[in-house]
């Protein structure tokens, strides 16, 4: 059990920024932290890294409580904060060697070289951090987080502000990391969660509104299953709503209809039987798969 968060509450003034958040993450898992801006993602991450104290609740990292055993807990966390703060006047290698020095790594130089290679910084290692483009700075941020080979990586919006190519490269690095480490990353880009994460937690107004694998999340869609159907002939809406289990009928124009039923019902056999019975031609019959976007919007409305 790499990260255990239980009943976490953080109150700022009168606002409950984080409200009874409980979850666990295992090694080999990439957890996506999803939520609109201001939902409490960053606050939760800052509490896990020990930067902020919780109002109540506990966080354990690699079995160490972040309040009672901060040094042990911090040693097994790699952290990439939001906006990736770096010393602009330091050189890439100098900075990484400094970080290695803080963690008292043996063979700092060799480890720094390894990280530089892994994050694709080889051609930039002698540059000053301030001279680097945003994408390369993000790699430096990842390199410093991974340098001491931590069990847990906390990455706060690791791809924000990067161009599409850079995003793909950074995601590749994160995916590789996720094979053996525990990775928690926050984002409000839903495609990112679909691309990188094995599991997602959606938080809204400080509360967890969903915690599931990406596949389950998609099929959940607040308890609905939707079927789109197009007939060759005209059909009356009353005929469709009279079908068993159909809760809602939406006309999409022409002879296209959208039928909604509860999540555990598949309307396709019913619709196809209906078409056969009334000698209708079925041009289209499709169960809608919802994107994470739609689930997200449903849950955080």
């Amino acid at each position: 059990m790499s990260v255990q968060v239980s009943h976490l509450v953080k109150i700022y003034g009168a606002q409950r920024a984080v409200d009874e958040v409980t979850f666990e993450v295992q090694p080999g898992e990439v957890l996506g932290f999803l939520g609109p801006n201001g939902a409490g993602k960053t606050t939760t991450m800052k509490i896990i890294t020990g930067f902020l104290p919780a109002t109540s609740g506990t966080v354990k990292v690699c079995g160490y409580d972040v309040v009672a055993q901060p040094m042990e807990a911090r040693a097994c966390v790699g952290y990439l904060p939001e906006h990736n703060p770096l010393y602009r006047d330091m050189y890439v290698r100098e900075y990484l060697e400094f970080v290695g020095g803080i963690h008292r790594l043996p063979n700092v130089r060799a480890r720094v070289e390894e990280m530089i290679e892994r994050t694709g910084l080889t051609s930039h290692r002698h540059k000053q951090i301030g001279e680097l483009s945003k994408g390369y700075r993000q790699r430096v941020g990842l390199a410093q987080a991974m340098l001491h080979d931590p069990q847990v990586l906390i990455l706060d919006e690791p791809t924000s502000g990067l161009d599409p190519n850079q995003i793909v490269e950074i995601r590749q690095i994160i995916k590789e990391l996720g094979r053996e480490k525990t990775v928690i990353l926050s984002t409000h880009i839903l495609a990112e969660v679909e691309a990188v994460c094995s599991r997602a937690i959606i938080i809204h107004r400080g509360r967890i509104v969903a915690d599931d694998t990406i596949e389950t999340l998609k099929s959940r869609m607040a308890g609905q299953s939707v079927v789109t159907v197009e007939f060759g002939q005209a059909v009356k809406s009353q005929q469709l709503s009279a079908l068993p289990h159909v809760r809602e009928v939406k006309a999409l124009g022409g002879n296209r209809w959208q039928l909604v039923a509860s999540a555990d019902r598949d309307l396709r056999p019913i619709v196809s039987a209906f078409a056969a019975e009334h000698r209708l031609t079925l041009l289209e019959l499709r169960k809608e798969t919802l994107s994470v976007e739609e689930v997200f919007q449903q849950l955080t409305r």
Partner: protein, 243 residues
């Protein structure tokens, strides 16, 4: 702590700060001690370094806040402090590392003035006719004073993200602790024993006492307490995000 110490030292000498601080200090001291008629040792006809020890604190009053102002203010502004305090380091280690680095820079500025000691030593009639004990004590006093100013400066820097505010606050606090208590003790509201006590809170009283060449444990204890007090205040100030 060692890693932080060397990073800070590198930061001073890979930017202009380190060289400017040492340069400004030495140019000012050189001018005051050897060139300007009012203060110059050559004009005074006495083989002493009194001018150095009288003027160095005045120069430190604005030079040391300039050295310390970025220590925490810059890290808070760029957000690097968040990374620093979430590493396996205690706040004390961070503060001590930065304190020692700033103090080292000040010592680097002070070291070349030893040359003045040897010059004046040779200029005395006969050579060597100067109060070496007094000078030794004064150097110790100056070191303690610099360390106290650095501790005050670090505290001021930990209060704000704005380096200019940090500088002004540090300069004010240094001045206050250096001379203000001495001046306050002369107010008529303090009489009898109380004015001695008020005077003894200030740095000047203990610095002057050390300048006489007598390293009194009471003065050493005073300086160490002042330094530890401000370093502790800095640690508390860094922890205020937890409140």
């Amino acid at each position: 702590m060692v890693a932080i110490y060397f990073r800070e030292i590198n930061a001073f000498f890979s930017s202009l700060i380190g060289y400017v601080v040492i340069g400004v200090f030495l140019v000012l001291m050189g001018l005051l001690l050897w060139m300007l008629p009012e203060y110059s040792i050559l004009d005074s006809r006495f083989a002493t370094l009194d001018t150095l020890f009288a003027m160095a604190p005045q120069v430190f009053l604005f030079l040391i806040p300039a050295v310390t102002m970025r220590s925490f203010a810059e890290e808070m502004q760029t957000g690097t402090l968040e990374l620093l305090v979430t590493r396996p380091l205690s706040d004390w280690q961070i503060v001590t590392g930065k304190f020692l680095a700033c103090l080292t820079l000040v010592i680097f500025a002070l070291l070349p003035t030893l040359l003045y000691y040897f010059t004046v030593y040779q200029l005395g009639a006969p050579p060597g006719n100067l109060d070496s004990g007094g000078i030794f004590g004064s150097y110790i006093g100056l070191l303690f004073l610099a360390a106290a100013f650095v501790a005050i400066g670090l505290f001021a820097s930990s209060l704000t993200q704005n380096q200019i505010v940090a500088f002004l606050l540090a300069a004010f606090l240094c001045f206050f602790f250096f001379q203000m208590f001495d001046l306050l003790s002369r107010l008529p509201i303090f009489f009898g024993k109380t004015d001695d006590i008020v005077q003894a809170i200030g740095i000047q009283y203990h610095y002057d006492s050390m300048s006489r060449g007598l390293v009194d444990t009471r003065d050493v204890v005073y300086f160490l307490s002042l330094i530890v007090l401000f370093l502790a205040a800095t640690v508390v100030s860094l922890g205020r995000r937890r409140w």
